[in-house]
Structure formats: structure tokens, C-alpha cells
Symmetry: C2
Subunit: 284 residues, 2 copies
């Protein structure tokens, strides 16, 4: 399957046979004090800086999350979306679970954005999917429902299937549903990684839709989180991940090397081009 | 299947459900000038240092390769094997293709060593397997034969099957055959990585024997080789690699993180223990 996203001018195809599509995660106030403060002040210069640095490192899509304490996402999200769209051509990923804010942002977003996210809860399915359909967007479906995040692969598969099915009923094609099988902290549950990895492989095999995963939750609470995040991302790519919500500033060289390993980089040209442009400070 | 190896006292089981078994690769003169010079001088102090540093970082088995220009492996290999066995308790992996040198080393090696390697060529099968059987060793089988290293998975599978079958005819059980599907340079052939990864998965699925892979060939000729080697090793583990001939000094933290990701590290205790002992110089 193929998910086509569009920004103001740039089109991005997520399809699995091409290099991993990088959804830059950094425009997200969680643990980013400077972003919180500047957003609260209505100053978007830092947002611009985060957008530029991620695109420079290879972000294909930008995730936009403006959830701050006391903030009004219904006003703020469309403002930031317009601000980014006036300056950058990449597709946007609207990271918000408030239906009104999503609708307001989708109304001003360029091209064909991605909505992050719907999940298997009835309330979420009923509120988010009609908006996704109305604006012709694509959507990320999280494998969580009213009973929480299942510990086993079969139940996560059942939620994924439910989301795809419910989207289909509204006329959203499976091409436009990207499943996120949710990577939880392996420091809290030592089976959390393998369950997610197996779900990735099984979703790709059985439903053939695109699969994404979020950033660094998997390493939460552990020392040397970067090494754990690397291990997760590379394993997930080997199991069939087709796009990732991640930090290209930290992980682009690993992603390029893994695309090369998976046979998606003819003549290693993307890997070498990235290295020439960035020369990471490591041994050659 | 389960490959049981023994050193003077230490037993190592390779079985796939436990953390990756690390076969330390560093006692190998290729591109190690100091090792060549000290071996030529009959001085084994550097060998001892390489053995200790690898065991300290988590090597479960030590690969021993003493192939130097003008050297006599029939004499040198058993000497070094005895030297190591008197000082360290881990199983040894005798890395040599000269049948006489292998026989001489196996005659003095402690416990149950691993022979690295036989391949699918008639000459190799006929010369190496009877020695492996005679000394009750285990053996690594490379997926190469008289026609070279096949470019496709099916032909590598056929060679693996042939090696397992020929070993079986001599009474060497499949438990004692470890297949190495050969990782070639992705810089020279951009499909080299994916063919090897797919062979790993298929050997595990169809033959269920253990699978290993050698070290850094995959990154040959590329910049930032460490990132490429990491990407390969993590991908290979995700695809089912059960042991690796690698450098634990460089890659142990990545291996520990990946074992954790694959659900083979209860309570993340191995990962955390390693980090406490080594505190890699990276961000926590």
C-alpha cells in the first residue's frame, strides 16, 4: 500500500520499498522548556528553527504538537500550521487528539496532511475519523483501546484491524491508515520491545498498510538512551517499519545506514551523500 | 537447536532464546600490525591483552586466527590455543582453513571448540568435516562453494543445506553446525546486506540451526563504518542471528540494547549491569 502525503509543494510517498520516511518529532513541547515558553509568548521563531534543523537532517514530514498547559490548541495549532506552511514545503503531521483543534488545523493545512492520531476507543474513532475523511487526510492509528495497550500481539492486531475497518466504512482507504503499534518502555516491561516488533512484522504481512512508531518512549528510564533508541529503530526497520516519528538530528545516520542494509539505497548514494553533507563526528 | 561449546571450564550454549553469543574477533592479524609483529616474534603478550579486553567486554567465545605471511599455522595455532587455554576458561573458535593446523589445534584445545570454518566446496567439505567429527567439535559453515558466493538467497540456502547434510552423513549433528550466510560489502553491492539478512531469517525458519555472521566486511570502503556495522548487527539480530563474530569492545552496548529489545533480557538487568560496569561515554 502507499500513503501519499503533500505539503505546499512537496509530495512524500510512504510505501516500504523506498527509504524510511522520517517524520521529524521535535516540534513537541514535552520536555522542551524553550518551546513551551516561546509558544506561550506567541513567538514562533524557535518552531521555525526546529523545523529547519530537522529538514536539514532529512525530515520528510514535520510533526506538529503544540499541547502546552493552559494553551488553546484550537487557536494555536492552526496558527503554527500556517506559520510552518508559509516557510517550508514539506507535508505536515498534525499531532493532536482534540477534534476541534484538528478540524481547525486541517482547514488551513496545505496539501494532504497526516493526522496523529486516532485509536481503537469508540470515542476516538467516532470523533477523529469523520474529520480525517472530511479533509481527505491520512491518519495514524494507535493500537490502544478502552482496555488500554494490550500486552500481546494478537490484541494489538485486532485493534489495528478495527481501525482500518472503521476507516474503510467512512471511505478512508487502507492506504491512508498508518498503524502505530506503540513502543512502550522496555525498562518497565522487558517484553515491550519484542511485542511491538512482532506487531510491526505482522501488520505488514497481514494488512500490508504502512507502519510507524514514535520516538524515544522505548528507552524511558534507562541509561544511555541513545543506544537503546538506535537498537529499537534499526530492529523496527528490519521488521518492516515504513515511517518513523523520530529525531533526525540524532538518528539520521543510523536510518541511512539501515536503509542501505535493507537494500533501499542504490549504490549507497544516499548514505554517502548524507555523510558528505554532515560528516558525523565519528571514526571513518 | 542448541550448540554447546566448552572451554577449560566454561560452557556456552547457543540457542537463540538467550542473549546473542559474542565470539570475540580481535585475535586476527588482518590489519593489526602489532599482532603480526608480536606473533612473528613468538611473543603472545598482546594476544593475552586482546583476549582479556574482549572477555571483559562480554565475549563468550574467543576466535583465534594466527594467519600471518610466512607463518606456520600448523605450529603457531596450537601454541596460541594452549597459551590462551592456560589463562582463560572460555570456549575457543579455531579460525583456520588449513586441515593440518586445525587438527593440531583441536588436539590441544580444551573442552568442545568451534571450527571456523568449512564451506560448500567439495575440497573443504572433504578435508574439514572429518576432522571436526574426529575431535567432536562444532563447525561454522560458510555459504560459498566452488562457484563463489551466490548473489541470491535460494543458492545460499542450498549451500547451507548441503553443508548440514554432509556433516550429518559423518555423524555431526545439525546442532553442531552454525551457518554463516556471509555479509559482503554493501558499498560494492547495495543488495549485499538484504540478501544476507534474508538468508539469516530463512536458515532459522527452515533449518533451525544456529546462525552467525562475521564482523565488519559489510561496511568495507564506506565512511563512518561503525554506524554501518551497528545497523547490520542490529538488523541481523532482529532477523534471527544467534551468535556473532564481532568486536565486543566496540559493539557490546549495541548488542545488549538489542537483546533487551528482542525480549531476551529479564528486567533489563544485563543491559544495566553492562552499563554500570562500563559507563560508555555517551549521553544518559
Amino acid at each position: 500500500m502507499q500513503t501519499r502525503l503533500c505539503g505546499t509543494t512537496k509530495q512524500v510517498l510512504i510505501e516500504g520499498t523506498t527509504p524510511l520516511v522520517i517524520i521529524g518529532e521535535s516540534i513537541n513541547p514535552t520536555r522542551r522548556k524553550r518551546l513551551i515558553e516561546t509558544l506561550q509568548a506567541g513567538d514562533f521563531s524557535y518552531v521555525e528553527q526546529l523545523a529547519r534543523s530537522q529538514i536539514d537532517e532529512g525530515a520528510d514530514v514535520l510533526d506538529i504538537n503544540v499541547g502546552i498547559a493552559g494553551g488553546d490548541e484550537v487557536t494555536l495549532l492552526p496558527q503554527v500550521v500556517k506559520f510552518i506552511a508559509e516557510r517550508f514545503d514539506v507535508p505536515l503531521c498534525l499531532d493532536c487528539t482534540i477534534p476541534k483543534a484538528l478540524a481547525a488545523a486541517l482547514a488551513v493545512a496545505p496539501g494532504k496532511p497526516l493526522v496523529n492520531s486516532v485509536n481503537g476507543e469508540e470515542r476516538s474513532l467516532n470523533a477523529v475519523l469523520p474529520i480525517v475523511k472530511e479533509y481527505g487526510a491520512a491518519v495514524i492509528g494507535l493500537t490502544i483501546d478502552d482496555t488500554g495497550i494490550p500486552k500481546d500481539v494478537a490484541k494489538r492486531m485486532a485493534i489495528a484491524e478495527k481501525i482500518i475497518e472503521r476507516a474503510g466504512r467512512l471511505g478512508i482507504p487502507a492506504d491512508d491508515v498508518i498503524i502505530d503499534p506503540l513502543a512502550m518502555a522496555v525498562g518497565a516491561d522487558d517484553q515491550a520491545g519484542v511485542v511491538t516488533l512482532q506487531t510491526i512484522a505482522q501488520v505488514r504481512r497481514e494488512f500490508r498498510v504502512n507502519v510507524t512508531c514514535g520516538g524515544g518512549n522505548v528507552s524511558f528510564g534507562l541509561p544511555d538512551r541513545h543506544t537503546v533508541n538506535q537498537a529499537f529503530l534499526v530492529s523496527a526497520m528490519a521488521m518492516g517499519l515504513t515511517c518513523a516519528i523520530t529525531d533526525p538530528v540524532k538518528l539520521a545516520s543510523t536510518i541511512r545506514a539501515t536503509d542501505l542494509m535493507l537494500g533501499r539505497d542504490g549504490y549507497a548514494s544516499r548514505y554517502i551523500r548524507y555523510w558528505r553533507a554532515h560528516k558525523p563526528k565519528v571514526d571513518a
